[in-house]
Subunit: 352 residues, 4 copies
């Protein structure tokens, strides 16, 4: 009889529950990881609300820290018992898209690299089965705690990815719209890449305070000032070199274009729904040499290794983002807090 484990399972829109599921078998090229710490992502809340469709019965979650329980055939260079993280995106490394550098679009399908809690079972559970283990298992340096590396699999990779896709250069001015966990990481990433004028926009004072801590030179509370006007004023009408969208709304997307210099880059991280329209005057009717680039969380073990290097270097400290801690047994409660953004929550740590 299969060994059983606890897991957070999507039942139907509005319901993610703690359930019993069989511990998965390990096939060739795979690895079973015993989860020691994980977290909830804004995307999980979209799934909970039925805004992003996953199969009923799917175990959710895509940000695992854990310990290798079992290695499948052909997985070498690791040992059972080793502490690892795995990125939210688990590229195969061997398809045409991966070999061409589009690992997040693994298999040539949009978002194809995002498997955990989407097309296969995820990691808000006692165990998670890791596909393409050779490309994805990443050993955690001994000196780093679970919580220190908990942001690597998704929000740090995504947020930094926004700064990287924006091709931020030394001396750039950058605006970051929305300072949730992803936006905060984008701010940290912008600073890491050498931006020397960073202005962030949000409405939550605590998030703006945190963004200053992570790199913002100026903050704008959009409830009390118009961010477009403010940013243009702060740049003497020049506009910013790079604008990062970290929310996924028409308004923030549009504001990004309105504060962007001709020739600038709009780096978009948000997940959009409904309609998305380009404001043509800000877009110079298509003649402003603008670039709009979207980025899905980069994954794979080399990415994870580099991000843990950043943590280890002390250049960026994202631990303060973990504001609340729960046992896996309390996952429904954790979702409730996180989905309603109560009590100043930024990220939660879940420990099975």
């Amino acid at each position: 009889m299969a060994k059983m484990m606890k897991a957070a399972v999507f039942i139907e829109p509005g319901r993610i529950v703690l359930d019993e599921k069989a511990v998965p078998d390990v096939g060739p090229g795979q690895a079973l990881v015993r989860v020691t710490t994980t977290t909830i992502c804004g995307t999980d809340v979209h799934i909970l609300k039925g805004e992003y469709p996953v199969d009923r019965g799917r175990i959710v979650g895509h940000e695992p820290v854990g310990v290798i329980e079992k290695l499948g055939a052909g997985v070498t260079g690791y040992r059972e018992g080793e502490r690892v993280i795995v990125g939210a995106i688990t590229p195969c490394g061997q398809c045409a898209s991966c070999l061409d550098g589009h690992q997040s679009q693994c298999g040539g399908k949009a978002m194809g690299g995002w498997r955990f809690g989407n097309t296969i079972d995820g990691c808000q559970a006692e165990y998670v089965l890791v596909p393409h283990a050779m490309a994805n298992l990443t050993t955690v340096p001994a000196q780093l705690s679970d919580e220190q590396v908990l942001m690597c699999p998704d929000i740090m990779s995504t947020g930094f990815g926004g700064a990287e896709s924006g091709q931020i250069r030394i001396g750039d001015s950058v605006a970051v719209f929305a300072q949730g966990p992803i936006g905060l990481c984008a701010t940290a990433g912008a600073k890491l890449k050498g931006a020397t004028f960073i202005v962030t926009v949000d409405s939550v004072a605590e998030r703006l305070r945190m963004s200053k801590q992570l790199g913002a030179d100026f903050t704008v509370n959009y409830k009390t000032a118009d961010p477009v006007t403010e940013i243009l004023r702060l740049t003497n009408g020049r506009g910013v070199d790079v604008a990062i969208e970290a929310l996924g709304t028409q308004q923030t997307f549009e504001s990004c274009l309105r504060v962007l210099k001709p020739g600038g880059i709009l780096s978009s991280l948000g997940v959009y729904s409904g309609k998305l329209t380009l404001p043509l005057e800000a877009f110079a009717a298509g003649l402003g040499d603008h670039t709009i680039v979207t980025t899905l969380c980069p994954g794979g073990k080399e990415r994870m290794r580099r991000l843990m290097n950043v943590v280890a270097s002390g250049r960026v400290d994202l631990k303060p983002l973990v504001t609340h801690r729960f046992k896996l047994d309390q996952i429904v409660e954790a979702y409730d807090l996180f989905a309603h953004q109560r009590d100043g929550v930024l990220k939660v740590a879940i420990t099975p």
Copy 2:
């Protein structure tokens, strides 16, 4: 008394007329060029129709071939009597934007580098005053005729720019939507950059035939087949690496996204009006690692030199694009033909 010259002048929406204007004085850093050949651009038609605003009384036209009549103070390295072209975009080379590589956005203003027939008098005239002459006068090799280099100042630079901004690589598949003069040059540019599967879309049989001549491997007449379906079929569902938009409509823009692989680049050349909406499912809700990049015609003398090299090499022959010839005296007639796309017109040559 000022010497007078004939010039095509924008009077009001719907009216561009041949008028008498004073031959301009030459200030420091400028040059006066006697125009020997010029042409009409789709943008000029937008101006004629009042869709793009320029001052009343403005001499229109931005694609000059001519002979240096007089050099202003400080303009060295040229001699009067030398045959030259000047790009449609005339960057100063010395402002922050130019020094940072955004020459088309000269002065940090959207489209700031586009001066001829826009913010200063243009070249559908007997003489044209060239600003920032040191950065813009480009000597024409003796073996090239006026008509051979007539496409360099705008449509060749723009069309090739679309292929360049698309970062086309050897072996890429590329779709080009619309095969007017700009789209045809984008097709030629795509081939020049190593695309090995080029499919073009238009409704005019003659333009599709010309696109085959310039590099298209397949053509789709959108009146008889759905281009999105066709292109996905031709690429085995993979989509193209790069899609080039060369018209400026919601439909073509949207179709570009729909045929684009995840991780692909939409290179946009069109001038949009009204509304422009992103189809979110084709845009993978912002998670497809897509890039959208717009390009305004690159200018400056180095760009012109390189484009004339392309012509001189015989790699691309754009002379067939000149389908009709007029005297400057007949400019109103030329506009009429060109604006109504009568008689299979692609480009006209105007000789003062």
Copy 3:
């Protein structure tokens, strides 16, 4: 008892012989390919001469065209009997280097991706075992013959790679030093990427003729003229934008720098031995904003797919490079001809 096959085996410096070897067993993630056509590379000659060390008993050869005989466990998406090619470089796709885009340096070791005929048995044999099959087996389109795709695994990938690493742009001037098979492919690659002034250098008239056919605008026979002087003259003293080294000698490397404009790129493909010195005056003492980049043959199935697209498009025809044909039984004779470059040989086709 193991099934036996014929294979070209390195015995000791000066001796590669046809021998009997066991047909290899197929492990997980591997594939056995029955070789239908292969060829000899300049590198094989280095091995023969003992200039590049491989283990005694090693089967040589790294350019296979063949038919899948057997697929190992976990290799999906292919069927036995399918015609395939495999790149000379066989990246795993899953190590840190591969995931970071350095597939030729697989495993983080210099040349780590080059396994065939180097660190594992190669393909001058009746059968070859393909490692990391999912990342490397590439189906050959039905309409292409073995000989048409025979250049893809190495010389086309390498030669084009030289043009790609040189970041050749539309309108560039390019010099290619040495027009052996790799240099000829670099010439073809330079043209494919939009160079409009290509000058090639060699001493063999037939190779210079072939280089004209593949894209050279000018050729220099270094026995009758000094290539540096000639190239500077042809570029009016400006120098070339990109110089490609395709031989691996001090002289050609140095000449590349001498004909390169300040800010230009030296793209090096040669394998150097002995000493390699930078001529400091041509290198502007390190202040000329020069770039020197080396490229090892890019591999992997996506690369092979793209190269076969180039062949299929008819943009480049490399079949004339196959000047001689041999049976595998005649491999010693083939080496003898090829190593001594007798009888105008460019590439040989070997059919088991």
Copy 4:
């Protein structure tokens, strides 16, 4: 009669003296700047020693901070009395090289953009004439002192340029060989660009201490340990992603290659003399996908504006590099101290 000024003049190898020279006349496109602070560069010492040839009688120095005394015809957007800096490299912005992004190689000549104290009179004087003023005069923000921006014209631009040309990415490991002023700025630049493991090499304890302050995570004193061994050990044999050479010797250049991973970038800032040889085994005989790139100090007013932004942001504090201060009258004494690197000198400030 011409107004006279004091200036440091190169007389002959071994002799730079304080002399009387005429204050220059201001031509069109030029500006006269009254120098308020300047400094001595390692390159000036090369000139002093006769190792880099300049005309006898040439005023030396290329790092000016000052006040606009007089604007030539056609220079607009500035006012006399404005405080400015000018980069060591003064591109015209309008030649083919500048328009193509190679501003340091202005005019298509190696080092063509370096004029001050080289091909025209420099700024170790009471006044300096600025060529191409529109492209080069850069207003200093009021809140920044002369000394705060004194490093921008050369060493900050050069050092950061080394990090930029190395294409340093978030999470990279970087080695910087030599921690003189340029090397220290390269270290600061590496940190600014997101390197998270920086190891620096020098023999002077004070310089290594300063390098820690500016971003080094580890330092190696090459007098007490072998830097190549140490760096390979610190990277677990992996090598660094980017190695920066900041001295200009065979040994440091070679060591850079020896600590570089396959696929890595050697970013060279040094000025080499004598012979420079590539160690072939570290260069993988040309098959390691290595890149070697050299960088001459980027100039122009946009570059200077960005660097002053870095200073204003407080991200990097280079003021401690100014270890000694002299009056222009004491310039000979200043050269003596600086050339002999006495008394822990890093940079001197000279005030006329």
